[in-house]
């Protein structure tokens, strides 16, 4: 038994050292911010830095009462939730059609979806703003959800197409022979089987919508509708930056994602490489 199978040029000591450095560097900066969120205002700016915070929830309380933190959280949940729902709904249908039905121009369709995922947002920003302006949908949830659905569709469709393609043909054939129509085959047989793929795609779409900043900044100019990233980016104190509150809001924005990552890292990795490699 070789002591390791994959990478050929590392033995034990350098391996653990590298792993340690990588993990340490990945977690340290955010751990520092999390630590900052639990400090009193005086501890936040102290030199030398306070390593063990007094554990006060002052910054969280202040972020909620002075900076409307919960309000941003609510907007983010609504926008990310609606985006995930609609993107997945549309992606399930499109992914199934592209993976398992005889369809013309399959290549160009998949290619143009890939192109959409590559667009720099600025290349569509002006027109999207104008369309939403004309509809009166700036500063509305649907105004942000519509572009988000568009921008996350490539991810959703690619992942689901890959999942549908990997399902065995026999089940579908059996359903057809039993006289199931296309619609029945899709809803009764295929969609339940693709549930893991749906779940994976939903996690990735949710993370995208939860984190997106550029369009949120353009479309939500009133605080009433702003999402968490916009809120965090625009946090302003009267004289100095309220670092404790910024760190608290950042922690609130990040903890759900860190939980998702630790619970579903295998799925996320598979989803990312399905969207990218195939």
């Amino acid at each position: 038994m070789p002591e390791h199978a994959g990478s050929p040029f590392m033995n034990r000591v350098p391996f653990f050292a590298t792993t340690f450095v990588v993990v340490f560097m990945s977690l340290l900066p955010f751990a520092w911010f999390l630590n900052t969120s639990l400090k009193t205002p005086i501890e936040v700016t102290a030199i030398p830095p306070v390593l063990v915070p007094s554990g006060t929830l002052h910054s969280y309380r202040s972020a909620i009462t002075e900076y409307n933190l919960l309000h941003f959280v609510r907007n983010s949940l609504i926008v990310a939730g609606l985006t995930t729902f609609f993107t997945i709904l549309i992606s399930v249908f499109a992914g199934y059609a592209l993976a398992r039905l005889r369809l013309r121009y399959r290549g160009p369709i998949m290619g143009s979806l890939l192109l959409v995922s590559m667009f720099p947002q600025i290349s569509i920003a002006g027109p999207v703003w104008r369309i939403l302006h004309a509809l009166g949908w700036l500063n509305s949830y649907q105004g942000l959800v519509l572009p988000y659905v568009t921008l996350t569709l490539p991810l959703g469709v690619w992942i689901l197409a890959v999942f549908f393609r990997e399902l065995p043909d026999e089940l579908e054939d059996a359903a057809r022979i039993d006289g199931c129509s296309h619609v029945q085959t899709l809803f009764r047989i295929m969609i339940p089987l693709a549930a893991p793929g749906v779940f994976t795609a939903a996690i990735l779409v949710f993370i995208y919508a939860w984190n997106e900043f550029f369009f949120a900044l353009l479309i939500m100019t009133q605080q009433k509708f702003q999402t968490l990233p916009v809120g965090i980016a625009l946090f302003q104190g009267q004289y100095t930056l309220p670092w404790g509150e910024i760190a608290a809001a950042s922690t609130v924005a990040t903890v759900p994602l860190v939980l998702l990552v630790f619970l579903f890292q295998k799925r996320i990795v598979r989803g990312l490489s399905a969207g990218a490699v195939k």
Binding site: P2, G6, S7, F9, M10, F15, T18, T19, V22, V23, M25, S26, P29, F30, W32, F33, I47, P48, P49, S91, A94, A97, L98, L101, R102, I109, S112, L113, V116, F119, Q121, I122, S123, I124, A125, G126, V128, I131, P147, T150, L153, V157, H182, N211, F214, P229, I232, A233, W243, A247, S250, A253, T254, V258, V261, Q265, V269, S273, A276, V277
Partner: protein, 312 residues
Amino acid sequence: MLSQNSAARHAEMKLSSLSRERIFALALIAPCFLFVVVFAFYPILYSFYLSLHRIILGIPSLGQPFTGLENYRDLLHDRIALHSLANTLLFVFISTFLEILFGLIIALVINRHFRGRGMVRAAILVPWAIPTVVSSQMWRFIFNDQYGLLNYILYGSDTSRYSAWLADPVYAFSAIVAADVWKTSSFAALLILAGLQVIPDELYEAARMDGAGAWQRFRRITLPLVKPAILVALLFRTMDAFRVFDLVFVMTQGGPADSTNVLQFYGYKKMFTEGLMGYGSTISVVVFLMALAVTLLYIRVMGKGMLKAENA
């Protein structure tokens, strides 16, 4: 006679089932198609149309007179725009190069079986999952001139030596590169890891039997076989680096002295801060065409790479 008849009817049914399947498939992709056309392809064309007009949001009475290529001529003489272009290209080159390098190293490290591998993988995914706005604020805090962690690590409590990193053109640019590399190397690592995992162990075993050293095994087996995955990671990272915005908006607002101004941020400011919809759209079109050119280039190279990998 009878069997011939039924065969014909069978063929007819098959044909109609094929066309029914096609109609069903079209109906299934229609909503996706609609979204992409209305909110992605139409806006691209509309951007091009807007870039040929003078539109100032603050002065609606101006209307939108057609000005031909005037905006494009102005763009060529806009020193800040050219500076932003240079910054964008520099940012794309440096950050992508470092991300692929670190990504490859991380992938090589975690591509083996060890206890706690899932935890390690989750830990390196954390930077990827953090909202970019959050990581931008976090790095801005670490680079802070009065109580930032970096100053403390370098100079201890001697605050007289503390440096305002984000107020210096070179350091500010480096800070943005560092924040981007920190956040996205793990993404590159995961894509490259997916490529590493399909390389069969037997190849390494055989090479080892033949007396190939570690470096030789890496050069002759790992690198060529993982090349397609590296190219995919490179494509995704390049396109993402092109649209860097959040980091610049939060950490530097393009400053100091436009040293961190990039095209996406400059276009945003022209369109939405100054209200120059026509001129801003010119920047949109240029950024789009550059991104398109890079994508097509990669796809050509990758197409060839994949073919070679399959033949080998």
